[in-house]
């Protein structure tokens, strides 16, 4: 190659690697003008000779055919050239100078040029297309550089022919460099292949060999194909469908997530989602008659419906139609709707109807259609709005703006005028501009004076309808137009309406105001609701009792009453305001801080006293008096039922009732007794006018009587309630029952408990239980208010009369009864009240409330104690209580001693149970530790003074029996020095154990506990190892050595065995309890399984596919070969193909087991039992050998008398199938091609993940010593395999 070296060569060689790719780029770019920026980019590619190559590239781009050609065509191309790519040329110019020095020659330039040209031609690009631009890579045609000799002639030719014709200066300015390329230019031979080499031909003699020339064949002359080589993976059969899998390893497709390996969904008649049966057509002339549409689309199939959409506002067509096909027989062939639709889409899309090109798309659910309609409507609306704006017409008030402020009763402008409205507007040419745009086109607003308009009533009709039944059709669904009324009347002529009226809100169909009318209304509604009225649907609103908001005008009496009431309230308000004013004034006057402070203090003190009295006196007394335990004897004497019996019958109910306290809780009412209540708070609307005037000082006396109990009371429920109360806040017990509060209350002076009045739930049962006289009348107090008293009575009773009799003290009641006549209602009430009180007092006496002022907590503690001793439930029978009462009281000392003894006992027990027995020897340290702990541990409960009256022994501290006596436990249990002393005494003889630093040791012990149980402090449950655990004698498993573990033991901890064991036990228990039920359950389960698997659609599909496959094969085979072969092949395939997915895993029955990995229907082939086929003798030998080797399982399967399949060493996984006495599979021996084979079939429907089993059918060896126990766990297990 006569190529100039130097920089140019370097350039080309450095460029060449990318040339291939860039060639393609260049063809793409060929029509674009080369931008100056492109040059430096290319320049960068050639590192090192940057400037050079850049220039070179520009050169080549300008040299390449394009420019020379243009120069042919335009004589003044010089100028154009200079003017056109200005920058470029300047670069070119400089490049030429550089290159002429660096590289040699001009001729070479022309060479390159010519070749570039040629290359471009070879590329199939005409020079014209390369106009003003050719990409640099093209200049780089690689082939060129190599075949230098061939160039010479072309070179010369070009030089003579082209160069003179083209601008010589330009040519000169373009130094020709040629760039050797990796690949030859397309169309050129890339090389040759020796087809025949004489040297290798043995037939030839030596001379002949020398003489003969090798035969060559050129290659690469074919034009370059940029196609990528074929994907080798595609050669793999089934690669694209994901079905390929090599023989020994499964396809990775099974590891892929579903969407990748899912088969393409095939539509069939079972498919849930049917194929699209309708097409949406757009783009046709909106005014195309439907019939033509039908005609056009009817060619593809019979049309079920055509929906040509109209603009609901203008009524004009939008040019969007939904055509639905139906299944039909077209000609001789059946056509389904889906096929028709597809056909329509395929053939009609892009066709024309008239002048318009129609687009047809499949639209399964009509979504596309809806979308298109929406779009069109939106567009139309926008355009309308624009048109309105453009025409500067003040937009009419929106027709549907509720109750319009404008009184124009005109319908919306765009609304069609009644039934004929559809034809009225001038059809606009396009659906998008279907709206009349000009002002002329706008429908003139209906004349308000016109007859039709006058039918629209100005006044809302609704208010006039009153009680008459009517149906309302709102304006939103049927436009308000007077002309519609006659149509509506006609439409509803089947119904007996009275009148049809119309106002702006819509139509009112008014019916007769009678039962008949109401029925008629209903009938009309049920039949006509949402029915069509022309194009509108009548959305009806049925009101068969007239205007729901209509109110009868009140009667005069009522008006009066209301008025009076109002006046009364007003008066009250006024008074209150006055009071407030006065108070303000007073405050302003006595603006003395000391005064104020005193007031405050007083109020506060009062609060305190009240609270104290409540908590210290009242509540304990209640508790005491109501404690049912203390009334047991009395109750029994009277034959009353035990409260607990009652309570526990329906605890939930009672709890709820007790729980729903009246709205004013004690706190809200009694917490601030000094605060004057509002005169008319909603809770006291009983006309207690006096209350307001009453001073705050009065509140004390009054407060728990303020509200009369509306309901009868009885003690049982109350007691229960208190129990609840106790459970809630035990901690406050102590302050509740102080000794001071004990005897201050006399029964007489003691006010009736508020709780007993109000809290007891009033249920019907208790009402019937209580004697009639005890029942409190729940009456409107207003009426009793009305009772008038004479002056004498007034003077005698005074303020008493203002109170409710229930609120009076007993003395007062007596006074009232004495002074009032018998027939006075007030007196009657008072009498009743008095009676109740006496009665309750008697009851109290009966139950010795007063004589047993024992602390409630004592009893409570007893109860607790009792509970711990007997039953953990709250239920306490009377017997136990009685026993309790008889129990002798012990002294505190005794108790303590007992306690200590107990502790010691517990300790010993614990020590015995602990194998490590650290506890036994660490007592002394513990003691020390406890000593430290004791200071904090002593609790106020210990100092608590206790009453020892009564006859039951009590403990100062309740020992928690279930406390775990670890360090925390001990620290918790030992409360004081005394305890410690006892403990020390108890442990005196124990040896000391060295644990090093006791504190560290103790801390560690605690840490270990925390680590394992997560609990700090004393715990109730021992921290231990969960689940099955047998401690090793030597401490751990490894030091214990290897021992054989029996199956029974294994089934205690191996999870899969536990599962089976449990199921088996359950079943057995069930069977024992109810043999028939168990059988039922088994049947049921079987049935369920059947139902769940048999209907599996996939199975059906698989089967169908299989059958098809087999049939296909049968046909092909039958065609090609004789029938015998085909049969074999089919059978073989059947065996292979019908195999089910199975896996093996650990089995509960024995060792390993085989599990279904899919649902398997009954009678389906599952797997073949594969193995070595051996004779009986061999099998016997092998059996012995295996036994010796310790192969735990037998994998020998007798097929024929002397044919045994041994799957021990060589075999399929079918060998893992275990025996079961209730198998779900069966082994069948079938002959394929005369050769027997063992095949496992499903005996039942088998669910996924179920273990496969079959009956091994071993010979029975009853009485034999080496019977194999069966572990199948089925209900009808025979116990042994053989």
């Amino acid at each position: 190659m006569s190529q100039p070296g130097g920089a140019v060569e370097a350039t080309s060689s450095s460029i060449s690697p990318g040339s291939l790719k860039r060639k393609r780029d260049s063809t793409m770019l060929s029509h674009s003008h080369p931008s100056p920026t492109e040059v430096p980019v290319n320049a960068k590619l050639t590192n090192g000779t940057t400037s050079h190559s850049g220039l070179h590239l520009t050169k080549s781009s300008s040299t390449a055919s394009g420019h020379s050609i243009t120069q042919y065509t335009s004589p003044d191309s010089d100028e154009t050239h200079h003017s056109d790519p200005g920058d470029l040329l300047r670069g070119v110019g400089s490049a030429s100078s550089l290159n002429s020095t660096a590289s040699s020659v001009f001729s070479h330039n022309s060479q390159a040029f010519a070749h570039n040209r040629k290359a471009s031609l070879a590329n199939g690009l005409t020079p014209l297309t390369n106009h003003t631009d050719s990409s640099p890579p093209k200049g780089n045609s690689p082939h060129y550089a190599k075949s230098a000799t061939g160039m010479a002639s072309t070179n010369g030719a070009l030089a003579t022919s082209h160069l003179p014709a083209s601008e010589p200066t330009l040519e000169l300015s373009q130094p020709r460099t040629e760039r050797p390329q990796m690949l030859p230019s397309p169309g050129k031979a890339r090389g040759y292949k020796v087809v025949w080499d004489p040297e290798l031909d043995n037939k030839l003699s030596k001379e002949e060999r020398k003489r003969a020339a090798p035969r060559k064949r050129e290659f690469g002359t074919e034009t370059y194909q940029p196609d990528s080589p074929p994907d080798p993976r595609l050669a793999i059969p089934g690669y694209m469908s994901g079905n390929c899998r090599s023989k020994n390893q499964p396809s990775k497709a099974i590891l892929r997530i579903a969407p990748y390996n899912q088969q393409p969904y095939k539509q069939d008649k079972y498919s849930v989602l049917a194929e699209a049966q309708q097409v949406v057509a757009t783009g046709f002339d909106p005014f195309l008659p439907e019939s033509i549409l039908k005609l056009n689309f009817g060619t593809f199939g019979s049309i079920a419906s055509v929906q040509n959409k109209t603009d609901p506002e203008t009524g004009s067509f939008l040019g969007i139609a939904l055509i639905k096909y139906r299944d039909s027989g077209r000609g001789d062939s059946e056509m389904t709707a889906a096929q028709c639709a597809k056909l329509a889409e395929g053939e009609f899309n892009g066709q024309r109807i008239g002048l318009h090109t129609v687009r047809v798309e499949l639209d399964r659910e009509g979504r596309k259609f809806n979308f298109k309609v929406e779009q069109a409507l939106k567009k139309a609306r926008e355009e309308r709005a624009k048109a309105r704006d453009a025409n500067a017409i003040p937009p009419p008030p929106p027709p549907d703006s509720g109750r319009p402020s404008s009184d124009s009763p005109a319908p919306p402008i765009n609304a069609p005028k009644g039934p004929s409205g559809r034809a009225a507007p001038a059809p606009s040419p396009a659906p998008a501009v279907s709206i009349p745009s000009g002002p002329k086109a706008i429908a003139p607003p209906p004349n308000p004076r016109s007859a039709a308009a006058s039918l629209i009533e100005d006044q809302p009709i609704l208010s006039k309808i009153k009680r008459k039944p009517y149906i309302h059709i709102s304006q939103s669904c049927v436009p308000v137009l007077g002309t519609t009324i006659p149509h509506l009347k006609k439409r509803l002529k089947a119904y007996d309406w009275r009148e049809i009226r119309l106002d702006r809100t819509g139509y009112y169909v008014v019916f007769e105001d009678s039962k008949r009318g109401e029925d008629e209304t209903e009938r009309c509604f049920s039949e006509c609701n949402k029915q069509a009225l022309f194009t509108y649907s009548m959305e009806m609103e049925c009101q068969k009792y007239g205007n729901p908001n209509y109110e009868r005008s009140p009667s005069p009496e009522r008006v009066m009453a209301v008025k009076q009431k109002r006046e009364y309230f007003e008066r009250l308000k006024r008074e209150e305001a006055e009071d407030f004013e006065i108070e303000k004034k007073n405050r302003a006057e006595n603006l003395d801080p000391v005064h104020g402070a005193i007031e405050l203090l007083r109020a506060e003190l009062r609060d305190r006293i009240m609270a104290d009295i409540k908590t210290r006196i009242a509540i304990p007394v209640f508790h005491d008096s109501l404690e049912p335990a203390r009334h047991t004897t009395k109750r029994r004497k009277l034959g009353l039922p035990d409260p607990f019996d009652n309570e526990n019958k329906a605890p939930g109910l009672l709890y709820n009732k007790a729980g729903d306290t009246p709205p004013h809780t004690p706190k809200s009412r009694f917490g601030y007794p000094s605060k004057p209540l509002r005169p008319h708070d909603p809770n006291s609307q009983r006309g207690r006018q006096g209350e307001r005037t009453r001073g705050p000082a009065n509140a004390f006396v009054d407060e728990r009587r303020r509200k009369p109990a509306p309901k009868p009371s009885h003690a049982r429920g109350l007691h229960f309630r208190l129990q609840q109360m106790f459970a809630e806040d035990e901690d406050s017990d102590d302050e509740r029952h102080t000794s001071i509060t004990r005897d201050t209350e006399d029964q007489e002076s003691r006010p009736l408990s508020r709780a007993s009045r109000t809290s007891t739930p009033f249920d019907s049962e208790s009402v019937t239980d209580t004697p009639k006289h005890k029942r409190r009348k729940v009456a409107d107090p207003d009426e009793e208010e009305k009772e008038t008293f004479n002056d004498f009575q007034r003077s005698m009773l005074g303020h008493l009369l203002h109170k409710e009799p229930e609120d009076l003290a007993t003395r007062e009641l007596e006074v009232v009864i004495g002074n009032l006549p018998r027939d006075s209602k007030y007196a009657t009430r008072a009498r009743t009240e008095l009676y109740i009180r006496q009665r309750s007092k008697d009851d109290d006496d009966l139950f010795q409330v007063k004589s047993e002022p024992k602390k409630f907590s004592d009893d409570f503690a007893d109860i607790l104690e009792k509970e711990q001793e007997s039953t953990p439930t709250r239920e306490l029978d009377t017997k136990a209580l009685k026993e309790k009462a008889k129990k002798k009281r012990k002294t505190k000392k005794e108790i303590l001693a007992e306690q200590e003894a107990l502790k010691a006992e517990a300790k010993k027990a614990k020590a015995a149970s602990k194998p490590v027995a650290i506890e036994t020897v660490t007592r002394i340290e513990e003691k020390e530790l406890e000593l430290e702990a004791v200071e904090e541990e002593i609790q106020p409960t210990d100092v608590h003074l206790r009453y020892t009256q009564g006859d039951k022994p009590r403990r100062t501290v309740e020992d928690e029996q279930d406390l775990v006596l670890d360090i925390d436990g001990w620290q918790h249990a030992i409360k004081d020095d005394e305890d410690l002393a006892f403990l020390k005494k108890a442990l005196a003889e124990e040896a000391m154990y060295d644990v090093g630093d006791e504190k560290l040791w103790a801390w560690k012990q605690k840490e270990i506990k925390v680590l394992n149980s997560g609990a700090r402090g004393a715990v109730q449950a021992e921290t231990g190892i969960e689940g099955y655990y047998i401690p090793n004698a030597t401490g751990c498993a490894r030091t214990e050595g290897v021992k054989k573990i029996l199956n029974e033991e294994k089934s205690k901890y191996l999870p899969h065995r536990i599962k089976v064991q449990r199921a088996r036990e359950e079943r057995q228990a069930l069977a024992k309890a109810n043999p028939t039920a168990a059988a039922e359950a088994v049947k049921l389960a079987a049935a369920e399984k059947m139902a769940s698997t048999a209907t599996s659609r996939s199975n059906r599909v698989n089967n169908r596919r299989l059958v098809n496959d087999i049939n296909l094969q049968k046909q092909t085979l039958a065609a090609t070969s004789n029938s015998n072969d085909a049969d074999v092949a089919i059978r073989f395939n059947q065996l292979k193909k019908r195999k089910k997915l199975v896996k093996f895993d650990r089995s509960a029955i024995h060792g390993w087991g085989l599990y279904a990995e899919e649902n398997i229907p009954q009678n389906d082939l599952i797997i073949e039992y594969v193995g070595e086929k051996v004779r009986q003798k061999v099998a016997d030998l092998r059996e012995i050998k295996y036994e010796k080797q310790g192969v735990g399982s037998s994998y020998l399967f007798r097929m024929m008398d002397d044919e045994i399949v041994d799957a021990t060493k060589k075999g399929g996984i079918a060998r893992f199938i275990n025996h079961s006495c209730n198998p779900n599979c069966t082994a069948k021996i079938i002959k394929v091609e005369g050769i027997p084979r063992i095949v496992i079939y499903a005996l039942k429907d088998i669910a996924k993940n179920e273990e496969l089993t079959y009956d091994y059918k071993f010979e029975r060896e009853i009485g034999s010593t080496d019977r194999i126990p069966c572990l199948c766990g089925s209900a009808n297990c025979k116990g042994f395999l053989n």
């Binding site: 190892i1025 689940g1027 655990y1029 751990c1036 490894r1038 290897v1042």
Partner: protein
């Protein structure tokens, strides 16, 4: 050595001499962590797959490859002498392990404690308490910072060595005693074998169970990770050794000896090509698990009841003395050729060391009263540590063999060197 019944007579010459031609010393130099137990494992690809190459360290490789390799006679005897006895466990010591960085010795015991000892001084550094039952197994994380322990209380606990505290969440999931543990070389996984016949793979960071391998039909006795963590080995008293793919949980290979004796210990060779398995028929076998055949059988100890772990170690021609170590041990070590030995405890209280390739007994250490349960070999200084049911841990150091071929009586011992 009387009872050595190796099928092929031990080659007397150094196995090194038979080795393939030397390669460039800088051809495959391993620049990995020097302290890791795993470092020696990353080397040979084209080694002849013979047992004698089971144990080759990069150091050895380096010097072995240099042209000026000395021809060193392999010592026929080793002379390990008791160096220290660590007492403190209240019950039998189940396992003892050197930390990968060689600084610590961890021991676990039936008294439910783990003790961390300083390998150099023998001082007790930590006592880890928290398990509710005896601990059968421990495993160091590769960074020597975390220790995993498996106990009879079915829990696996992870301990921070620096604080002595247990990580808050134990690995819960086993249904019976945890019997064996191994950390993956990266320290991110833990494999555990349990009495519940399953092998569990745990994610250490989240303390979650990653994979459960339905491995065996008897308690899993031992588990191990191969050097790169891709394989797991497990063995069980059902006589099977299984090799698992850690990633997929598939059983790649099952090794079973004809006798079907219970396998109590399994350990990958440092180069990852062999598996050392101790069985309850008084034998330790080296398996070529790829081919599924038994390459070597080491006998001469008693092992019929307890699961005693076997391990690999290296030895040089001359013992590395502590003084050497202090003064630039690397040079002293690098200059020396190494051979591998197998160590296993015996139920008669001794610890037996075999040469890997010749199967000769190099030494029998009269270590403990009662069963020797655990053996581990420190890498750096070839220290051996043993533990036994006699509640003690013993550290052994090598001493030069005396000229007459008999072991020099160790300084603190009654010179009863046994052959």
């Amino acid at each position: 050595m009387s009872n050595q019944t190796s099928p092929d007579p031990p080659s007397r010459g150094s196995p090194k001499l038979k080795r393939s031609p030397s390669r460039d010393s800088d051809e495959r130099r391993y620049d990995g962590p020097r302290d890791s137990k795993l470092q020696y494992a990353y080397d040979e690809e084209e080694l002849p797959s013979d047992a004698e190459q089971a144990y080759i360290s990069p150091d050895q490789e380096q010097d072995g490859l240099s042209p000026k390799r000395r021809k060193v006679e392999r010592p026929q005897r080793l002379n390990y002498t008791p160096y220290m006895t660590l007492r403190g466990h209240k019950r039998g010591v189940a396992a003892v392990k050197f930390s990968p960085d060689g600084k610590w010795i961890a021991s676990c015991s039936a008294d439910a404690t783990i003790k961390i000892w300083d390998a150099k001084t023998g001082g007790l550094a930590q006592t880890l308490e928290g398990h509710l039952a005896g601990i059968s197994t421990i495993a160091w994380s590769p960074d020597s910072k975390v220790l995993a322990s498996g106990s009879d209380d079915k829990l696996i606990r992870l301990w921070d060595i620096s604080t002595g505290k247990c990580m808050p969440t134990p690995l819960v999931g086993h249904h019976n005693y945890v019997y064996s543990l191994a950390f993956s070389p990266k320290g991110n996984m833990l494999v555990s074998g349990s009495y519940d016949e399953a092998v569990f793979l745990w994610d250490v960071r989240t303390a979650r169970l990653m994979r459960s391998l339905p491995a065996h039909s008897d308690p899993v006795r031992s588990v191990d990770f191969v050097r790169d963590g891709t394989l797991t080995a497990s063995c069980s008293s059902d006589g099977l050794i299984r090799i698992w793919d850690t990633g997929t949980g598939q059983c790649l290979k099952t090794l079973v000896h004809e006798d079907n004796a219970a396998v109590t210990s399994v350990k990958f060779s440092p180069n990852g090509k062999f598996v050392l398995a101790a069985t309850l028929d008084n034998a330790v076998r080296l398996w070529n698990y790829v081919e599924g055949r038994c390459a070597k059988t080491y006998q001469g100890h008693k092992n019929e009841k307890f699961s005693i772990n076997a391990c690999f170690g290296t030895y040089t021609a001359h013992p590395i003395l502590i003084e050497d170590e202090a003064a630039g041990d690397s040079e002293a070590q690098q200059g020396q050729q190494k051979w591998a030995f197998v160590a296993c405890g015996s139920e008669d209280g001794s610890t037996v060391l075999w040469d890997v390739s010749s199967k000769e007994i190099l030494q029998t250490l009269p270590s403990h009263e009662g069963v020797v349960l655990g053996v581990d070999v420190g890498l750096e200084d070839q220290t051996i540590v043993t533990c036994g049911v006699d509640r003690t841990i013993k550290i052994w150091k090598r001493q030069p063999v005396t000229a007459n071929g008999h072991d020099r009586p160790p300084p603190g011992q009654n010179g009863s060197a046994t052959e």
